[in-house]
Symmetry: C2
Subunit: 469 residues, 2 copies
């Protein structure tokens, strides 16, 4: 179903306006702002934008939407890359950004309770004085609710895991408006079905996350960042594989291919030679950081490391990771004005990473695509960013064919069609290939928990056979 008019659910909009007053917005500007995505998905404005401020309001909104069968699409910082927050079936955008309070910080238990609209930077700013931080780092200053809903990860997952490992407990509003709590403040539990992990990565299709209890980590005593250069991507990746297999506790290990480095040179004048690089971080006590970086350098020598630069000062390290986090815009810079970025990511078992990366490069070359590779390679995860002309359907089709080829490859190698970007709109047609009969189990869960299909309809699950979608 596509939205034809801005008033497909007028009775819902009226009821929501009665509830929220001027926090139910139907202006074109606000609807357009909520209909946009960082990547190539066409704009899809919702019918209205609701700005709840409490869990109770979220519950009331969902109940009203249930009554009026109006889709509810939760949205945080809108940094999702597969269109997860686009209201493709109409209905409302549930903007969670006003639920942005850090509720409690328990330094002694190494956790914080936050509302979903708190961004990761805001949380880390808030808790700076405690000597703790929240490690999951997807690059964008995403909202923590959105990060949980999309099972985000990023540069530090190699050490600290993804949102999967860093959320202790959730509060969520289910499709009938019921407020549930999952998990506890204890580190582990064996009581009942793991609803925390069922909600993490469910992309707003099973419930709306209204509160998160997050694990925090101690700020390490010593941090050393480094860059190193290799002659070929294969050397760089084989160095990563050997490093991970050696058990070295890397804090970060990121690959940038030649094209990505060229993007950084264009976008932020990085001055790096246009060769494959690894960006690294080591953390721990001063002695262990020295031991780790020495151990890594020994491995890297075996793979022909060409240059090795370290950064210990905070400003130098921040500059390095800030550059890395602009990979999206640096990839876009390669395409020049008027282009957009088609992005995809896959994740494979670490032993197959060199095969996967070199396949991606040669496939992009064969197709004549301008594509960068950048990735959290310690996890076997990498991204490709292809510049496309959004007005040229053939260009999009070519990029999309490339993405599907990578996904097929990832599955052949025992991996997954997305390590961290998720399914959203863009990879629904790959769900059967990856999950087979398990898709029916997922659908049974969705139907049981949201029988009217009001929570982010049309996302994550592929359309049922025979249905129009």
């Amino acid at each position: 179903m596509t939205l034809d008019t801005p008033s497909a659910h007028p009775s819902a909009i009226d009821a929501l306006r009665d509830l929220l007053g001027d926090r139910l917005v139907t202006t074109t500007a606000d609807r357009d702002a909520h209909g946009r995505c960082e990547t190539w998905y066409p704009p899809t404005p919702p019918e209205a934008v609701a700005y709840p401020e409490t869990t109770e309001e979220v519950s009331e909104i969902v109940k009203l939407c249930q009554t009026h069968r109006c889709p509810v699409v939760a949205c945080g910082a809108a940094s999702a890359l597969e269109g997860q927050h686009l209201a493709i079936s109409g209905g409302i955008s549930l903007d969670m950004t006003r639920m942005n309070r850090v509720l409690t910080v328990s330094a002694e238990d190494l956790h914080a309770v936050v509302q979903p609209g708190v961004t990761r930077h805001a949380l880390n700013e808030d808790i700076r004085a405690t000597g703790l931080y929240f490690p999951v780092d997807p690059g964008a200053d995403a909202s923590l609710g959105g990060m949980a809903a999309t099972r985000a990860s990023g540069t530090t997952a190699v050490r600290h895991g993804t949102m999967r490992e860093n959320v202790l407990a959730l509060e969520a509003v289910m499709a009938d408006g019921t407020v549930i709590r999952t998990g506890s403040r204890a580190r582990k539990s064996s009581t009942g079905y793991d609803l925390t992990h069922l909600l993490i990565g469910s992309e707003g299709t099973l419930g709306i996350i209204t509160e998160l209890t997050l694990r925090l980590q101690g700020v390490p005593e010593a941090v050393l960042a480094a860059t190193c250069r290799f002659a070929t991507v294969k050397d760089a990746v084989n160095c990563v594989i050997a490093t991970i297999q050696s058990g070295l506790p890397m804090a970060r290990i990121e690959l940038l291919d030649e094209m990505m480095v060229r993007g950084f040179n264009l976008y932020s004048d990085s001055g790096l030679p246009e060769r494959p690089h690894l960006f690294l971080e080591f953390t721990g006590t001063p002695a262990s950081v020295t031991e780790q970086s020495g151990g890594f350098a020994d491995i890297a020598e075996e793979f022909g490391m060409q240059a090795w630069q370290t950064a210990t000062r905070t400003e130098e390290r921040n500059a390095l990771w800030s550059m890395r986090h602009k990979a999206h815009y640096a990839s876009q810079a390669l395409g020049g004005p008027g282009t957009q970025l088609y992005v995809t990511d896959v994740c494979v078992p670490i032993s197959r990473l060199a095969d996967a990366v070199t396949h991606a490069q040669s496939r992009a070359r064969d197709l004549g695509l301008v594509s960068t590779i950048v990735g959290h390679v310690g996890d076997g995860n990498f991204h490709c960013g292809v510049s496309i002309d959004p007005t040229d359907r053939a260009d999009l089709a070519r990029a999309s064919g490339f993405g599907h080829d990578l996904a097929d490859m990832a599955l052949r190698l025992g991996g997954t069609v997305s390590g961290e970007h998720g399914i959203g709109l863009g990879k629904r047609d790959l769900m059967h290939a990856e999950h087979g009969a398990a898709v029916d189990v997922m659908r049974a869960i969705k139907t049981a928990l949201d029988p009217q299909d009001i929570l982010n309809p049309g996302k994550l699950l592929p359309p049922e056979e025979g249905s129009e979608a």
Copy 2:
């Protein structure tokens, strides 16, 4: 529903015999063996025991049981402590112990694919030459399928997590006989609902696990075990809290209270002074182990550590952990001949651990119970083992009241009614107190995936109001 006769489902038994031949056993000896539990639960023999050898057979068995509405209760090493494997509604015990092959070991990807009947010792024996090991260690030589089904953890969870963190992928047979695969061999994924974690801890009520892909760890270069003694449990626990808060990467940190030490002296002549002890393990490079143990000793001094003994030789370390793993039998020894053990466990946020442990001790004293405390205190998790006379209902009621008091306390402190033993039979009536409205969500999932309620009926979820149970 209680089983009255051994043939409540005669048509199912006949059909299963046609399928399995002599691998469908109805002898009293075999049924009795599968009706027993390590703890106080009364014997509950199944109607028959089925011994599948392949996933396809498990699927066929489940399909037949679905047709005949016959309960299917999966069972591995039968070391569960809350009666998870008891066929309380009749039906068959599905004994998975013949599916005991290690299918593949990928040293380069640090994972192994195993059948569910492989025990953790058998796996570690099998992969010894690779320099890798599977860390999760619940004490008993449990089957890996059972460990996943009950979300087991144990002494190493403080470092490596529980089964929740160490299972990458599963194969499972669902209630209609469908075989699904969840997860992949990649380290992370953001594609679809997390069915792996939904099955982990579901106690055989949502599906039968027929294959597991497990994360392996490198055997550490250096290992140092140590014991240290404190004047009071409070000192010992406060030392643990400070250690965890300091971020020291403990490999193991276990508490034994005075009574537990007395049990070890009775059962295995440990020769330890009857004072609270911590049993510790440090792993890493030789330099980091020295750094860690020094860091720990500094903290322990602040809490009045009275004695500190280290063990570096493998035999010494094995003797220490072997003794620790016999806590169950050592607790039993305190009660003398004819007694049985009532065991319970709770898990609280680490900052509340001293409150929780001292409350448990004083409560046991007030009730005149002989109770040990032993625990994976780095996680905030501890166990009580109460000796009871199984022929004296008042004795069981008293122990059970103690267990419920501890559970209430754990919830008051923000924790969970079980860190690792699970719900099974014994804690179903605590599910509402811990999970509130989320119990209805769990029940909706159970109904959606097993509408006839044939998979381990009566476990994990509390009886619905108005139903007899």
